[in-house]
Subunit: 94 residues, 2 copies
């Protein structure tokens, strides 16, 4: 859970997730939306990957990234635990 929140704590990475919401994109396509260098972008994609927030698949010369909504929903559960006063489940998500 820590890795996930760390990954989400950067505005560029959240922007990447928003882009991917509209459909899968290659690393290069994602880079077009940012002014930072490609290595920097790659670094951010790697952090999102390690946090399992995105999925990566090589397509020939390109690398295609997509959202992993499963993990996003786990994070939502974390928030629900925190906000839903009727939830008496003592949370496993740290």
């Amino acid at each position: 859970m820590n890795e996930t929140f760390k990954a989400l704590s950067d505005a560029n990475r959240r922007q990447i997730l928003r882009l991917l919401r509209q459909g899968d994109l290659t690393a290069g396509e994602i880079a077009e939306h940012f002014s930072m260098s490609k290595p920097s972008l790659s670094h951010h994609l790697n952090i999102l990957k390690q946090a399992h927030l995105v999925l990566r698949e090589r397509k020939g010369q390109h690398v295609l990234y997509s959202l992993n909504t499963t993990v996003l929903q786990e994070v939502m559960s974390w928030f629900l635990e925190l906000t839903d006063e009727y939830n008496r489940d003592e949370g496993a998500l740290k």
Copy 2:
């Protein structure tokens, strides 16, 4: 939104929020749950305060902290935008 996620990206701060979920606590009571120094704890509380994730109220000699569920629900909305494929609202939350 950035400040909020930054605040959530630290495990100690998320633990503070979980503690507060069960009821309001003074700074000292919160500190009892951690091994770090009180100034460090105070620093974390300050970050949560600036992110509007907690509310602070002086009670005589003590300072009482409580969850601000309003902001937590805003963060939840951010996730919903990202995960709910039928939500066609182009998000204001960055």
